[in-house]
């Protein structure tokens, strides 16, 4: 076990993948000499050379489109999009080409492309630097979408994503980059929890609380706070946003009878809506109450002085838990 930051854990996972497979190629803006604006690729170009760790021109459609060509040629490109808000110029290549290639060619062409996207808010950045665009991608068939929440998962999941034959959007919670945790670098990605599986973070009996990426830590803190008040929350780290591990969610909701979902992205059309609908379909007779969502608002990501109002906080999550439990909460007395 080694103590390392989240960012360092991804770096270490990338290094392992580069070592193990000569077809792995990293591409992105500023990922070489600078080591990426978050230093996630620090030192990799020095050790693996400019053909394996490629500083690309400043052109996201270009990066993604050439990754498609490299994949055609048998490579496994790992693309870094510098910030969430800069993925949109590449959107067409991702949803029209990367996602559909396998289907279109009836399985003849694989797109083992990993797209690393530092995402989410909470770091006081300007516009376009704090977005949660995951639902655009979970809505697109053919893409896998994952988000690690701990250094250990960051380390293994990046390797699993790279070795996966499907395209994987790998959303990195940038406000957790500096969080430290134990990482077992001897853990083989093949024997770790599979990429598509959710994980129970804390066992509980009263409410199931689903989170992913940056909010897993907040959700766990909320569970600890709730325990002081005698409420037992089962926190589930979704890990895979598409496809979703419904078996894990169903098992938990059948036990607790209550579901709270939290994410930073806006509510309407967000992943929480999909989880609420699917769990309602699957577990209707087990649910004591309607699923509750605690999410960002349906507003453009706000300027930094207001972002803490937008982001689900521990208190806002607990208020949602109170709603699911029918305890006094901020909306008590309101109907609908």
């Amino acid at each position: 076990m080694t103590q390392m930051t989240f960012a360092r854990a991804i770096n270490s996972g990338l290094r392992k993948s580069l070592e193990n497979d000569p077809k792995v190629v990293l591409m992105g803006e500023d990922i070489g000499t600078l080591g990426g604006v978050f230093r996630v690729t620090d030192g990799l170009q020095k050790d693996f050379g400019k053909h394996r760790v490629v500083d690309t021109p400043l052109a996201e459609a270009g990066i993604m489109g050439t990754a498609v060509g490299l994949a055609y040629r048998g490579y496994r490109p790992v693309v870094e999009i510098q910030f969430d808000g800069f993925i949109y110029p590449a959107f067409d290549q991702i949803v029209s080409q990367v996602a559909k290639m396998h289907y279109r060619t009836q399985g003849a062409v694989k797109m083992p492309i990993t797209v690393r996207v530092p995402f989410g808010g909470g770091i006081g950045s300007p516009e376009h630097h704090s977005e949660s665009p995951e639902a655009y991608f979970t809505h697109t068939s053919g893409l896998r979408v994952v988000s690690p929440s701990s250094p250990q998962d960051a380390y293994t999941m990046i390797q699993q994503a790279i070795s996966c034959d499907d395209p994987v959007l790998y959303f990195e919670p940038k406000r957790r980059y500096h969080d430290k945790g134990d990482v077992d670098e001897t853990l083989e990605p093949g024997s770790a929890l599979p990429l598509g599986n959710a994980r129970v973070i804390t066992d509980g009996r009263d409410v199931t609380l689903v989170a992913y990426g940056p909010l897993v830590k907040t959700a766990r803190d909320a569970a600890i706070a709730a325990a002081d008040e005698g409420v037992s929350i089962e926190v589930i780290d979704l890990r895979s946003l598409a496809p979703v591990d419904y078996a894990a969610l169903e098992a938990s909701v059948r036990k607790t009878g209550r579901l709270v979902i939290t994410h930073e992205a806006g509510q309407s059309g967000g992943l929480g809506a999909e989880l609420a609908a699917s769990i309602t379909e699957r577990c209707f007779y087990y649910l004591e109450t309607a699923p509750v969502r605690v999410t960002g608002f349906d507003v453009p990501y706000p300027y930094s002085k207001l972002e803490m109002h937008h982001l689900p906080s521990l208190d806002r999550i607990l208020d949602g838990v109170d709603r699911a439990l029918g305890r006094p909460n901020s909306l008590s007395g309101l109907e609908g």
Binding site: A59, P126, Y303, N329
Partner: protein
């Protein structure tokens, strides 16, 4: 001409090119009217375009450049003191920004990037409005229509398309104003900039593409974006281009006037490559020592745009104690205004988060706002709802 450029290898400069109407693919000479030593050199094609610049006007260009350098330094200091979340310095690019912006007419419309604070200052944006967004108090610092400057663009190159569309509107209206897009060398790699040039050429739109080649796109040198001079790219789109010494305020003025004149007379777009250098970091969050050689910085410091025009004033006997005192006083006053405006900026209210998402009320959002205000009201201490750690 600048002989010791760095960063961009490839095509050597050839011959005295027909730079005002350049349509060929051949590499272009750099237009220069003031040498790095502050010597005024004559240029038959460009001199006429700045012949009207009086001694007094030269002094005021110098003043503008000193003031925006001071704004830049003050904002950087404010960031270091925790008053701004981030700041993108323009240190070294003063001549490019002042020389071009001071050439524009009030009814021309500017589409800037995040770094073009000197341009915005010239257009009348108030000092505190320059930092409003960097402090995190608003998404944008000013109303574009009060100063004819769009708000700062962060998505690289997006504004070049906006400028082109605005220019198409000018054309439809039969007006003779011009839209100007400011962007960097890295931006020329983006699809948006290339598509903007396609549209501008197709419709012969009255737009000026003003590219400040400051040699770096964060850590990436300009040679990674292009193997030829950026100005030479324009010819492939059928757009005439000028490659100008961006640290020479007079040369930049002349080049911009040529481009504006062409646009006003129905001659369509022009691409200007102002060859300059970012002497500071990309932003206050960047560490250029990781990717940039100190010698390179030294070479460019010798071509400093402000000392250049100062030497010219000196040679002409215009650098009087009065002028220096007046310039220093102006810089001090603007810096003071910036600092006070920043520190006294009113804090946004929590429910401001819901404002202006739509121009008409929306029941989805009204419901979220109602719920959130009830949530805030449920705290005795409203500040409690602010922290991630929680207040229960």
């Amino acid at each position: 001409m600048l002989t010791d450029e760095v960063g961009q290898g490839g095509t050597p400069a050839v011959g005295p090119g027909n730079s005002t109407g350049h349509r060929g693919g051949a590499s272009q000479n750099l237009v220069q009217l003031i040498t790095p030593q502050g010597e005024r050199v004559s240029h038959p094609e460009y001199d006429p375009w700045v012949r009207d610049i009086s001694d007094e006007q030269l002094g005021s260009l110098y003043e503008d450049m000193v003031v925006i350098r001071r704004i830049d330094a003050e904002a950087t200091a404010l960031q270091r003191q925790g008053e701004l979340a981030l700041w993108p310095p323009l240190l070294g690019q003063e001549a490019a920004q002042i020389g071009s912006a001071r050439t524009l007419r009030d009814d021309d419309f500017v589409f800037p990037s995040y770094r073009d604070n000197g341009v915005a200052y010239c257009r009348g944006v108030r000092p505190e409005d320059l930092v409003r967004a960097w402090r995190g108090n608003a998404s944008a610092g000013w109303d574009p229509f009060t100063v004819n400057v769009a708000t700062q663009q962060i998505i690289i190159g997006a504004q070049s398309l906006h400028a082109t569309g605005y220019a198409m509107g000018i054309q439809n209206d039969g007006a003779d104003c011009v839209a100007v897009a400011y962007f960097g060398d890295g931006a020329t790699s983006e699809g948006d900039v290339n598509e903007a040039m396609v549209f501008a050429a197709s419709f012969q739109a009255p737009v000026v593409f003003f590219c400040q080649n400051n040699h770096w796109a964060i850590s990436e040198p300009v040679r990674l974006q292009s193997h030829i001079h950026l100005a030479d790219r324009a010819s492939g789109f059928g757009i005439p281009s000028i490659r100008v010494d961006g640290n020479d305020v007079l040369a930049v003025m002349a080049a911009t006037r040529i481009a504006l004149d062409r646009a006003r007379r129905g001659g369509g777009p022009t691409f200007i490559e102002a060859v300059t250098y970012r002497m500071g970091p990309h932003t206050t969050a960047d560490d250029p020592t990781r990717y940039r050689d100190a010698n390179e910085l030294e070479d460019w410091a010798a071509k400093d745009p402000i000392s250049r025009v100062k030497s010219l004033l000196d040679r002409k006997g215009l650098l009087t104690a009065d002028l220096e005192a007046a310039v220093a006083a102006k810089a001090d006053a603007v810096a003071k205004e910036l600092r006070a405006g920043t520190i006294n900026m009113p804090e946004p209210e929590p429910l401001d988060i819901f404002k202006h998402v739509y121009s008409t009320p929306n029941s989805w959002l009204d419901r979220q706002q109602d719920h959130y205000s009830r949530y805030l009201a449920s705290f005795g201490d409203p500040a409690g709802a602010n922290s991630e750690e929680g207040a229960r």
